[in-house]
């Protein structure tokens, strides 16, 4: 089917179908991009799919540093840096803990570990809204609600099931002889982890980092509740910018802000290529 009929009607039919599907998936991105480059007078005329008569980066500038998100009018650049400062520690800590958990579960016998792991796996399917209020009450007295350490901690907790799972599966698939040989040589828990297991896990660490960084960057609800005014992530500021503005809606600024917010996960996606898909495969083995 693949090479034999390169010119037969069925091949052309499939190619046409593939191209129209690709167009459908790309169209929203295209419309967003051209709308962000049009001045408002041109947008009010309609012509949704038409190329801008003159390209203007004003909307991008306004979205980045001038548009109003709620009270302040400083664009969403603040949200960008907030998101960066949330994503970096959340990713590093979540991966470290996930790898450590996976390693301990795969090689060390700890009493009750299987039960805890089972509990954690069920936790992965529980909607966050169910855990939200008790978590606010638990973290409140520790002054962790509305702070950077608080939102990082919450991200680490909610990503723990999936991070633990992918690393447990990863370590369980390595030959057990490696571990046993290191034990015979007298290496301890941490030594084996740092010197043997981590170097063998570089691809998995990259996959986990991609998953976690995009996941945390795209989060809205946890940032809304736990980050507090000073640290609102970019997604929350974006939604405030678009949905709570009073007065005339500046669609070009809205679109530019949406694109700016999406730029980070899109860049990760484009650069990581197959690794992103590997993350999906690793995450899909739950249960």
């Amino acid at each position: 089917m693949t090479r034999r009929g390169h010119r037969d009607p069925a091949w052309w039919g499939l190619a046409a179908l593939a191209l129209s599907a690709a167009a459908f998936f790309l169209l929203p991105l295209y419309v967003m991009a051209i709308t962000s480059l049009k001045p408002m007078e041109e947008i009010r005329l309609g012509h949704l799919f038409a190329w801008p008569t003159q390209l203007s980066l004003d909307a991008w500038r306004a979205a980045w540093s001038g548009a109003c998100t709620g009270v302040a009018c400083e664009g969403i650049r603040g949200g960008f840096w907030n998101s960066v400062s949330i994503v970096l520690p959340s990713t590093i800590i979540a991966i470290t803990l996930g790898a450590l958990n996976g390693y301990a579960l795969a090689y060390w016998r700890a009493r009750g570990a299987a039960l805890l792991f089972g509990l954690l796996m069920i936790g992965a399917f529980i909607p966050v809204q169910v855990l939200m209020f008790p978590l606010v009450r638990m973290l409140g007295p520790l002054h962790l609600v509305g702070s950077l350490p608080g939102i990082v901690l919450v991200h680490v907790i909610f990503s723990m099931p999936i991070m633990t799972l992918i690393f447990r599966n990863h370590f369980a698939a390595l030959p057990r002889e490696l571990f046993l040989a290191a034990r015979l040589d007298g290496a301890g828990f941490l030594r084996i982890f740092v010197l043997l297991m981590l170097p063998l896990s570089v691809p998995m660490l990259v996959v986990a980092a991609i998953m976690q960084a995009t996941g945390v960057w795209n989060d809205y609800i946890l940032g809304l509740v736990f980050a507090g005014r000073e640290h609102l992530p970019m997604t929350v500021q974006l939604n405030n910018l678009v949905n709570t503005t009073t007065g005339t809606k500046l669609y070009n600024v809205d679109m530019a802000a949406t694109l700016l917010t999406s730029l980070v996960p899109l860049t990760i996606y484009v650069l990581s290529g197959r690794w992103f898909v590997r993350g999906i495969a690793a995450g899909a083995v739950r249960g």
Binding site: P28, G46, L48, M138
Partner: protein, 291 residues
């Protein structure tokens, strides 16, 4: 073998134990407890039995949000599976260009639900979006104003989220397709089995495990549906696109009725369990059959 006296794994697993017991288990039980109290903005420890559940199921807004989720979930899942399967076949068939196509179909999945919601809010805006464009092209009678139509707004959420998640299904099914022995398909073709029949009767059953996996992920996402609603409709017009997750959030933080919100949350967990448990079972059986 390994000495049992001082097991370093116990220390290493302390954070996990904390998350599993204190956060997941503890919070669930706490939510359950509050749902049986008369708490408003602060947690009270009285006991009112199932009174909050009674109030919940006479609450118009809650019933409407459940109704919406009941429409949304099957449509979203079936549409994602169908579109995702077609995309997977398209990508799998391309001798060259398959990688580019896959990247194009999957990129929406890298976006946030907030971004997706905002994009489609713009495209479906009746005055400036697709409807207006169709009018300019001479289709004056074309109507596509579902975003502001209380009866149809829930379908716009299906469109936007299928656009975002179909690529995920494609990626999972592609991995499953790789695992199918090409000789089986070749033999069927030599026997003169028509191409559509090969897909329906051979490929789809062999992908049962991948389909079950995808359904599991989609179902989890559907029950959590919140961000996309916030970005796209804010639950409107009016309360036409309310969903349970939003009802719970609004009553927790906006309306300060934590007992009612907790009752809603408990119902949400029970619904999720009731839907997921048979799926896990089916997936387990599919794994045994497929491997």
């Amino acid at each position: 073998m390994i000495k049992r006296t001082l097991n370093p794994a116990h220390f290493a697993l302390l954070p996990m134990a904390f998350a599993a017991v204190a956060v997941y288990l503890g919070s669930m039980l706490w939510t359950l407890r509050i749902s049986m109290s008369s708490s408003r903005s602060l947690p009270l420890h009285d006991f009112v039995g199932l009174a909050q559940y009674q109030r919940l199921f006479t609450n118009e807004r809650w019933l409407h949000s459940l109704h919406n989720l009941a429409i949304y979930t099957p449509l979203f899942i079936v549409a994602c599976l169908c579109v995702g399967f077609l995309l997977a076949l398209l990508v799998d068939r391309q001798a060259s260009g398959g990688g580019v196509l896959r990247a194009v179909f999957l990129y929406p999945y890298a976006l946030s639900f907030i971004a997706t919601g905002l994009i489609w809010q713009w495209l479906l805006n009746p005055e400036l979006g697709i409807q207006q464009a169709a009018h300019e092209w001479g289709f004056g009678g074309f109507r596509f104003d579902w975003l502001v139509d209380p009866e149809r707004v829930i379908y716009t959420l299906v469109i936007a989220t299928v656009w975002q998640c179909a690529g995920l299904v494609m990626a999972i099914l592609l991995a499953g397709l790789r695992g199918i022995d090409a000789d089986i398909l070749r033999a069927a073709r030599l026997d003169g089995v028509p191409a559509w029949r090969i897909q329906v009767s051979i490929v789809v059953p062999m992908l049962a495990y991948s389909f079950a996996t995808a359904t599991l992920l989609l179902l989890t996402a559907a029950v959590k549906l919140y961000d996309a609603v916030i970005a796209m409709t804010q639950g409107g017009p009016g309360t036409a696109s309310e969903v349970p997750a939003k009802f719970i959030m609004d009553h927790l933080f906006g309306r300060a009725n934590i007992a009612l919100a907790s009752a809603g949350a408990t119902v949400m967990v029970l619904t999720a369990v009731a839907l997921l448990a048979p799926l896990f079972y089916a997936r387990h059986r599919a794994r045994r059959a497929n491997r």
